[in-house]
Amino acid sequence: MKKIASFQELEAYCQECVAARDPQRTVITICAGTGCQAHGCTNVVAAAQQELEKQGLVDVELKATGCHGFCEQGPLMVIHPQGVLYHKVKVDDVPEVIAKTVKGGEVIDALLYALPSTKEKIALEQDVPFYKLQKRIIFGSNGLIDPTSIDDYLAIGGYRALAKALADMTPGGVVEEVKKAGLRGRGGGGFPTGRKWESTLNVAGETKYVICNADEGDPGAYMDRSLLEGNPHSVIEGMLLGAYAVGATEGYVYVRHEYPLAVANLTIAIDVARQAGLLGERILGSNFSFDIKISRGGGAFVCGESSALIASIEGQVGEPRAKHIHMAESGLWGKPTVLNNVETWANVPVIIAKGADWFRSIGTEGSPGTKIFSLVGKVNNTGLVEVPMGISLRKIIFDIGGGIPGGRAFKAVQTGGPSGGCIPEEHLDLPVDFDELSKVGSMMGSGGMIVMDDRTCMVDVAKYFVNFLKGESCGKCTTCREGIARMYEILDKITRGEGELTDLELLEELAPVIQEGSMCGLGKTAPNPVLSTLRYFRAEYLAHINDKKCPAGVCKELIRFEIDPEACTGCHKCARVCPVEAAHGKKKEAHEIDQEKCIKCGMCYEACKFDAVKII
């Protein structure tokens, strides 16, 4: 890569990149994101490369891209320009795909995605409901570009926002545009990004820093990782714009150490951007200089908290500190600092390129733009979805997510990560944005969304999240450390059938003290899972306490498995799967469960084809 020394040279080079990409040319993109890698996409990419050579298709371009979001269906392959989508592609399928689809333009039915409801096959990516209802302004490029190629990013308009800002806008102008756009931080709290930048811009100081928070400690959430892996230049460009806006000269990306591919792709992107003169001294011939370093996180959830993150970059123990003095004045090494989330940074180039008004036309008044959610749990299409703010939970879960597997009943959706809340069915039509989610006792958090069906016990769910937070509390303050541990103790007692009504009072007395009395966001939000389940599923708590029953059939101490002799055909399946020989009986006769021996693993329940095993 040769150095680009001016705006004119950048424009000329971008034109070259665009021209090099004939829109009519056949391009095969294969998702090489972490999810698809787990499904074996690396071999599919290699096979496709070989097959193209073997069949003499030198003109066809093959791209290994970042995550497309539809991870459940991976490995994914899209053949452009038509946009034919093949899912669950195996190495053995590759010769046929190259011969029939790439050479002959023929669609292979067997590899198409079928609607779970009607089994109707869908040929084009854009027609799959999962994609159709999304608005992928940040995440969409992931499927189109090779993350290791800066040319690919330049060809889709990359770094034009930077050129525009450096050439035509003052730093204050960039801040103003972001403020006008109403962008709110995607890392959890939803703090207005422009206002944060403004405070830092207004502080005098030679040295200022911008930091990208890519710690992503929320279990099950992986949007930040996928953005860094699939489109690292968009994050770099966002940071460049932020640095220009506040007057920073150095940036850090704090990435959790479990993300090797994100680090690898980001490292390549930073190196190439530096060679191209997009990072370093006097960028594009302007007076603006800025560079980025990568800092690898220790892997504790609490290191995502801003003051702990800064301590960690400085080489100290990653523990939160009181933040009565703002980072805008005294952040990293005591210098003015702006910290934003990966997704927040990736939104910035789009805002500068297309303008605040355009951005505001998407989403809601209070939360403009889109949000990427990590949709998991009891939902058919798990994966990453980018939707305009204000879309209803129902649309996300049922239309995009394809509903609940096995036709079971929806019970709740947990949003906001471990310290978020559970939202019941009555709020399914809630428009999703920062304010609406907190109104119903949950939060946006980083965008985790866990769908639960009727077989989920809400007391058990609360206990699960509280247990996670108990292990992640840094232990510095009394209310968080002791309070969460005590919440866990009480919940555990209830799930064991030893709960009393006074326990609920104690939980409700503890919660506000933990919330208001703790030092950092971890403690301040930790009671959410308990409070939201108490609010919407109190009857389930009462069933555990008063009737010693777990209505969802989850809490082991409160259930037992029995075989209905009427329904049992004597197929012997339960006896075969039972690990402790508790389920027994003669072939073709009704079976029984020896309650003394049974360890309540539920394997017989899962195995019985005649619904003869009952949870009592």
Partner: protein, 242 residues
């Protein structure tokens, strides 16, 4: 020096910018209970007992007074029902760790707490961190540190072995609010159980009385660049010589 007018419990007072709420309250004879605070140490904000209500720009919230620097006009209330019930819960949580400390019990009684509703999880250390801070910030020995997260958190010598940098000065013993650290002399040894530290005492070259840990004396001699024989005599013998 920039002065700011704030109100504490309805009374207007002038404070210097940057003063903490706790300092301002103490200076005006308003008592706020603390467990992790010491004037000589950096504020730490861990015990959460010094919570007060702060009204700032019309926003009312709980905040720890020990590490809250006053930078603008605020109203502070130190003894509202909300403050009292939050402190009561903090004490109840701490009491369920440690119910033997006279100081804790006395505070609990002040807040009308006779016993904790939580089961006792006995550990006489309430993790206020004063020992770790005094050792690092004042003594400079860095002999002990925090380890582990959450309820597993403990103050320990590095790697949980004998605190090899501990000079046996006893500063940690002095600041500990719960008497969790004990120091004793046994023959020619000084022992701090909690840090598994056993220190040989140096005998006075004149009278032969073992008077201070040898390690401590060498530490001080080095730190202040004193003559090699500076600590050869015990206090009494030195006084005699003068």
């Amino acid at each position: 020096m920039m002065m700011i007018e704030i109100t504490i419990n309805g009374k207007k007072v002038q404070v210097e910018k940057g003063t903490t709420i706790l300092e301002a309250a103490t200076a005006n004879r308003v008592r706020i209970p603390t467990l992790c605070h010491h004037e000589l140490l950096e504020p730490y904000g861990a015990c959460r007992l010094c919570l007060v209500e702060v009204v700032k720009n019309g926003w009312r919230s709980l905040a720890t007074s020990c590490n809250y620097p006053i930078t603008g006009p605020i109203e502070v209330e130190t003894d509202t029902e909300k403050v009292r019930s939050a402190r009561r819960m903090v004490l109840e949580l701490l009491l369920s760790r440690c119910d033997t400390s006279p100081r804790l019990n006395q505070l609990a009684a002040e807040y009308g707490l006779t016993e904790s509703r939580f089961s006792l999880n006995y550990d006489d250390c309430i993790l206020c961190g004063q020992c770790e801070r005094v050792c690092r910030e004042v003594v400079g020995a860095n002999a002990i540190t925090f380890a582990n997260r959450g309820v597993e958190r403990v103050v320990v010598p590095p790697f949980g072995e004998e605190a090899e940098f501990c000079i046996g000065c006893g500063a940690c013993v002095y600041v500990c609010p719960t008497n969790a650290i004990r120091i004793q002399e046994d023959g020619d040894e000084k022992i701090i159980d909690r840090w598994s530290r056993v220190l040989k005492l140096r005998a006075c070259s004149e009278c032969g009385v073992e008077f201070a840990p040898d390690f401590q004396l060498r530490y001080l001699q080095q730190k202040y660049d004193l003559a090699a024989d500076f600590f050869d005599l015990c206090r009494d013998c030195r006084a005699m010589q003068k």
